[in-house]
């Protein structure tokens, strides 16, 4: 299999070799000392008696405390960045979208950027093995988000290596004008969020007949007449405009969108998984049987479901994790990662992403790195893909309902119409004076959640359906509370 940038020695290295690399990297990166130099770890670790001896074996990692997103947020609130990160080595910053209300800022050093470049090349070479140079339409969110960094880093890496790759890179608000250029240039690869790609398909399919009609009237060229006749019989598809071969999707789960993307664009979708905290672009291969986690660049672990339940049930219980490569296929749990990052190493970082192990065996593609599927978020985030916000924001909105009733409780049911998220808000109220007025008041309150409003206005999600006193859906948390977010079978 000819590949332009296929690092077979690493990507197909037997697991024992990968574990040896992890060990070497743990030692070489001087993880313990660098973590102890950061206020993010120092106090907590000293309190817990963590030794400053270097890690000789990755099993020692499991004795270290977990790190959570909230710890990072709190540390940045209490300390200066210079106390938290390797300030001398920091080159560039990115931040998370702030679903919980506040963005987390993450620094990267030159060495970290070099590592991300390597991972980008591994991900992009999934298609780059084809003999022709690719033309790419890349739809990115702007800085300071990671998508902007990765897009620019990919460009710089390609340019640096002298690789042929033509890129039309646009922001999410400039998609429409880019489509015509992409068509003319014969773009064959799409890099996007799945929901944004589908929104683009919707727009193309909606307007295709009008465009043909206008061209026919303007030019009287028989090809437009033929196109007109064709679409009298056939349903317009985005693939009639863009002849895409591959799609590289990130930022949200591809699952609900996969078949729709294939049908609309006629492309082969690849799924990626990355974190702002550690923007190592993990990707599924041509077998599409789980995302390969590049385990030479980090030490991935999994806290199984059963341990998460114990944690919820027993106050103070610290769940046990297994190394990802030792977890059985089918195991579900929270993804945990330790990185060798220079600017801010993450030690046993709990991502709050619920994942499922697909396999630890050798993939049909020959790669040996473990494969996972990303399922959903474990924290209090209403996660509709690109559009996500904290349940606290809904709580605040509900607390503001006073004119037509008093809200006693609420629940969000997430379902889909086709691929599109369609939230349903079930509200329990007392003292309802005007049911219609109440629904308007609740909707107004919800629309004050900026990101929700943005998603509805952009057509990425459907407006929430609001029902009053219809009875909350069953679903309990491990500690016996009614779940705030429940998932319909269509999700």
């Amino acid at each position: 299999m000819a590949r332009v940038y296929f690092n077979q020695a690493i990507e197909c290295l037997p697991m024992a070799g990968i574990i040896e690399l992890q060990k070497q990297n743990l030692l070489k990166s001087d993880l313990i000392h660098r973590a102890l130099a950061s206020a993010l770890y120092a106090d907590a670790w000293r309190r817990q008696g963590v030794s400053d001896a270097p890690i000789e074996d990755r099993a020692q990692l499991t004795t270290l405390p977990y790190l959570e997103g909230e710890h990072i947020r709190q540390a940045f609130a209490r300390h200066t960045p210079a106390e938290l990160v390797n300030f001398e080595k920091t080159r560039i910053w990115s931040c998370t979208s702030g679903s919980t209300g506040k963005s987390k800022w993450i620094p990267y050093s030159d060495a970290d950027l070099e590592l991300f470049s390597q991972a980008i090349m591994r991900a992009l070479c999934q298609q780059a093995g084809q003999p022709r140079a690719h033309r790419v339409l890349s739809l990115t969110s702007p800085a300071p988000f990671i998508s902007d960094l990765l897009s620019n880093l990919a460009m710089m890496t390609h340019t640096g290596l002298g690789l042929e790759r033509e890129v039309i890179s646009v922001g999410l608000s400039d998609v429409e004008p880019a489509v015509e250029l992409a068509r003319r240039r014969g773009v064959d690869v799409l890099i996007a969020f799945p929901s944004v790609a589908m929104k683009m398909a919707e727009e193309i399919e909606l307007h295709i007949k009008d465009v043909i009609e206008r061209r026919w009237h303007e030019t009287r060229n028989p090809k437009w007449l033929a196109a007109r006749l064709y679409f009298k019989i056939n349903k317009p598809r985005a693939q009639n405009v863009l002849a895409l071969r591959y799609g590289l999707f990130s930022g949200e789960s591809i699952q609900p969108y996969r078949e729709f993307l294939k049908r609309s664009f006629g492309l082969e979708p690849y799924e990626t998984y990355t974190l702002t905290e550690f923007p190592c672009l993990n990707v599924d291969c041509e077998r599409h049987d789980g995302i390969h986690i590049w385990s030479d660049l980090c030490v991935p672990e999994l806290i199984p479901d059963s341990e998460l339940e114990k944690e919820a049930d027993i106050p103070g219980y610290i769940p046990k994790a297994a190394f990802l490569d030792q977890a059985h296929a089918g195991t579900r749990g929270e993804y945990v990662v330790t990185t060798f990052s220079q600017a801010l190493p993450l030690v046993r970082y709990r991502t709050a992403d619920m994942v499922q192990v697909v396999s630890n065996g050798i993939c049909g593609c020959g790669r040996t790195h473990p494969r996972i599927r990303v399922l959903y978020r474990l924290d209090d985030i209403v996660n509709m893909g690109l559009i996500r916000f904290s349940t606290q924001e809904v709580e605040n909105a509900m607390a503001g309902i006073t004119r037509h009733a008093k809200v006693r409780g609420w629940q969000i049911e997430l379902k889909r119409e086709g691929y599109k998220p369609s939230p349903r808000l079930i509200v329990e109220c007392s003292g309802v004076t005007d049911p219609d007025g109440l629904i308007t008041e609740i909707r107004d309150g919800l629309y004050r959640i900026d990101i929700l409003k943005l998603g509805i206005d952009a057509g990425l999600i459907l407006p929430p359906d609001i029902v009053i006193n219809a009875g909350r859906k069953p679903g309990m948390t491990a500690s016996g509370k009614t779940k705030r977010i429940v998932y319909d079978a269509s999700w």
């Binding site: 800022w105 800085a143 300071p144 620019n152 460009m155």
Partner: protein, 346 residues
Amino acid sequence: MTPAGNEYELKRVREFLPLDQLLALAEKNLDETLSWAASLPLYKTPKLKRGNHYALESLRQLPFLSRQDLIEIGTRSVSGKSRVRRVQLWGSRQIQQGAQFWYPRGLKDITRFNELAGRLASVSEIKPRDVILVLSQAGHGATNALPYALADALKIASIPAQIIPANMTIDVHVKKWADFLIANPPSVIIAEPKDALGLAGILRGITQQPLMPELRFILLYGMRSAGESGQVEQIYRVPVRRSVGFDGLDVFGLECTHRQGVHLWLDTGLYELIADEELLKESSDLKDVPKSSWLWETERGVTGELVVTSFSELLPLIRFRTGLKVEFAGVGDCPCGRSHPRIKLL
């Protein structure tokens, strides 16, 4: 200035070349540029032929390129795939409502842009431990790539400074990250005036403390009037330096620490000035084609419209009328020692 030997220092030498050497370099670049331009449908004119040799003076025999032409270029440059050299990246800029200017960039263009980012670090005297906030524009133009090119340039120059890339277009998000600039205050801001002012407004809503106590200077781009820089200076209470840049041209000029006008780099383009009286004649007689002079041969203090020719690899813009009103500020006499001509933005 003696080159220290590393890649960064070697490139710095071109900032200080004597004018005659710069012009010789510019002539060589122009010759290559016009030879290539002769093959582009956009520049179909008997005055341009492939294989001809072009001296500096041949440039001024060619027609001007207007803003309106740019809109058409956006379409024409993408037709006829064989005529487009190897494109690495498409940049875009909205020129007017509904009119997008798409410009192709090749490997050399990107390399040159990265070198200019290094020049920005040199001219602006970026120091170790500087924290540089780069606010990019909407769309996908040069300013979006700038933070990353600058990061790479600083790495090459071994300057341990940090970059915070950001964009103000999505209001919802800005509110969630802006307070980081209080915890990690920038010492340099690179921004459009409207974004610099917008950010000050947001930070004022978060803190009563003085805005960015570490700030040394602000480098402004995309100014629409001279008054804007005054407003920014007043709010942030630090010196403002100006720059000029044109998406699609891969040319941008910078003001150095002496603030005696924006240096326009003769190794990346050529510059002419259409003096005010010529512009006046043109406005009273639409058939009149105004005369221009080389910027460096203009008398100091003369004002007029800046005309730029870029040495871009794929789509050079030849004699582009920028619409910028400028004043010639001198050449070869800046205390910084840089020989490239300077303008003041009016």
